[in-house]
Amino acid sequence: MDLLIKNGFVFDPLNGVNGERMDIAVKNGSIVRDVVERKARKINALGMIVMPGGVDIHTHIAGSEVNTGRLLRPEDHFRDFERKTSVTRAGVGRSIPSTFTTGYRYARMGYTTVMNPAMAPLEAKHTHEELNDTPMVDKASYPLLGNWWFVLEYLAQGDIEQCARHIAWIMDSTKGYAIKVVNPGGLEAWGFGHNVKELDDQVPYFCTTPREIIRGLCKANTLLSLPHTIHVHTNNLGKPGNYTTTIDTMKCVEDLAANDKPVIHLTHCQFSAFKGDDWRTLESGAAEIADYMNNHNHVTMDMGQIIFTDTTTMTADGPFQYALYGLTGNKWVNHDVETETSAGIVPFRYRRKSYVHAIQWSIGLELALLIKDPWRILMTTDHPNAGPFTAYPKIIAWLISKNAREASLKRINPRARGRSLLPSIDRELSLYEIAITTRAGQAKALGLKNKGHLGPGADADLAVYSVNPETTDISRKFRSVRRAFKRAAYTIKGGEVVVKDGEVLKSVSGRTKWVDVKVSEPALITEDMKKRFRTYWTVEYENYPVYEDHLEGLEPINVKARV
């Protein structure tokens, strides 16, 4: 049925619409200029805001790592469970909800597209099976390639073109969307009990360095014309003094940028913006990073904002998770994915009264507020590492309101409060900027053409929130804004109303996107490579790829590569 969302205040930053009162028409799952009003189902959005459906660039919602986290934490489940309703399934979990619940919770907040950022190629089948079971949202996965043996070898040889073709083969075999690089070189070193510290450290047993890996993959990404840039989790993440590594990482691809387009995405940057020599002298390096960001255009970032709560940290960064285990003495899972990557899981509680955690909380917000261009600093919690995604409305409140920040500042560790830059920052984001940082900017950074905007031809993914920007002072009434963003008045997915007043009305299965890269000649599949599969992998080369019938609602994005 056609839909007409009437009289809402529309925020559509990609088309420059800033809070104008207008109608949005939907036909056959897409946004159109007009529909016949008499025949269409009308939704009265009078006094409400209408935004494109939310997009999340980085959220761990599926895959073996997430699932192991679920197994590790029964205590995360028993306090937070949802009963079955006539349309939704039962589910459990707070920081790592079960797949169906993940989908419902995103939809309730008005999110319609989420990206699962860490998929070990070997675990691709598992990841896609779980994504198939995550309803309500469109999704995609990024294969982890920064420590993949073949990539490292091609880069050591300096053969970027062959490397690019190989990546095209991986994208096809894992049904991936973008190149994810975690602690480049460090994870392979972790397999031998080492780590790398600086960009120019040698990766043991591979004649290459993190700098060469980042630059090489960045060039390969450009050759393949992938929609997203490379998605980088920096070296030295989570260590005091690491902001210099972060700035070096941004600098090392400075010359590869062309036409002011971003070439690198630094993810959960909060964890990579620590200044100081050790945990006691930890300070925020956000000002330095923001200064660099404000003078360069080739980087996009997401926040990785800390939420003071009990959560589960899980990254492919095995050595970092080991350090975290050392700090907390908590339960720990360590995993080596054959020749591809590693992984680690540690439950973690962020405490207001802890100096380090309070500083981390401050860093995330400082980054978001000090970086002037909201298109390049996106809102995430790196779910579930810094906090569950269900806390997004809290972050929105902190971003739009200095009062909200001060209310939280009062409750944090006093020494951290003294060192925080937040009291000196008066900036408050407008709803237009919130629309950028939660949807338009994310879709743009991801290169999703039909998401994150409401122009004709876009997918009909919308969120309607009951905030009246004309009558509400959002800075003072941040609590009502927080409530509104927590439970969307309407979420529309693919032209269907799936959520009303924060309740799921209908369960729809989203589509899984992957990039189908057309290369001029296929990747070299040598006998040597097959032999190595036989020697080093538990899976034979022939059984390795994810076939299309593994995926429900498959949506390939066709890309023509330059190699």
Binding site: L72, R73, P74, E75, D76, F78, G329, N330
Partner: protein
């Protein structure tokens, strides 16, 4: 006082977290009877399972006292999260008794099953019979156990009593199973009878006093000194001499394990290290 009596034998587990003085406070027997509980997968009114009556005529201004008479082995989570008042159970009771309770008192004149006082924060639980496994232990996976209060068991208990305990006191006058005080952080456990092996495994701090027989001490404990006697609380003192072991050194812990010398001649080999 409010008197509850099961009307029949329960075949399925009954989830009865509403049986708590806090919930009953200020309610008439009729209102109490209308409270909802789950029996198996069916939600039912409390009165369909229990006979509810107001037992005494004396004017009570204070907290509610609740008496339950009968076989409650299938009834779970009685007194869950209670803050005040008293529950007297004349009969055996099911799992999760007094889960996360914060105050008040529960007396069981019979046996209790597993998970008594799981994650409790305050109050007192007294069991005149035996208790099952996981006495005061937290829910599976949780790493913070009992935070305060007191549990007294006059009979024996099963395995993992006081696991992850952070504070408070557990007194066991009978015997204890394996892994008493597993991963305990603080607080005190007293076992008057004998204790099975691996007492205090992975303990970080706190004390465990074993007056009876303990077959062996974990190799990750080292003997520290002799004590003539040890005070459990204001009313109770254990006469020694007692061996004092420190551990669990595998976890860099500094918990204390007091074991009676008289009942444990097999531990005399440790004396040469003193």
């Amino acid at each position: 006082m409010i008197l509850l009596q099961p009307t029949r034998e329960f075949r399925f587990p009954v989830m009865a977290e509403c049986i708590s003085p806090d919930v009953f406070q200020g309610k008439t027997p009729r209102e109490i009877g209308a409270l909802q509980v789950w029996e198996g997968n069916k939600q039912k009114a409390l009165e369909s399972l229990f006979k509810v009556e107001e037992a005494t005529v004396e004017e009570t201004v204070g907290d509610v006292t609740l008496e339950i008479v009968g076989d409650l082995r299938k009834v779970r989570r009685i007194g869950s999260g209670m803050n005040k008042g008293e529950i007297i159970i004349k009969g055996d009771v099911g799992i999760h008794l007094g889960e996360e309770m914060k105050g008040g008192k529960i007396i069981v004149q019979g046996d209790a099953e597993s998970w008594v006082g799981s994650m409790m924060k305050g109050g007192t639980i007294e069991i005149l019979g035996n208790a099952g496994d996981y006495l005061a232990a937290p829910y599976r996976g949780c790493v913070t156990g009992m935070k305060g209060g007191k549990i007294i068991v006059h009979g024996s208990v099963g395995t993992e009593a006081g696991a992850h305990m952070e504070s408070g006191m557990i007194k066991i006058f009978g015997n204890a199973g394996e892994f008493a005080g597993l991963r305990m952080h603080d607080g005190a456990i007293y076992v008057k009878g004998s204790c099975m092996e691996r007492a205090g495994a992975c303990m970080m701090n706190g004390k465990i006093v074993i007056e009876g027989h303990l077959e062996s001490v974990l190799p990750t404990f080292s003997i520290d000194l002799f004590r003539r006697k040890i005070k459990i609380d204001t009313s109770e003192e254990v006469e020694g001499p007692l061996y004092v072991f420190v551990g669990d050194l595998a976890e860099n812990g500094s918990g204390k394990l007091y074991v009676s010398k008289k009942n444990n001649p097999q531990l005399s080999c440790y004396e040469k290290f003193l």
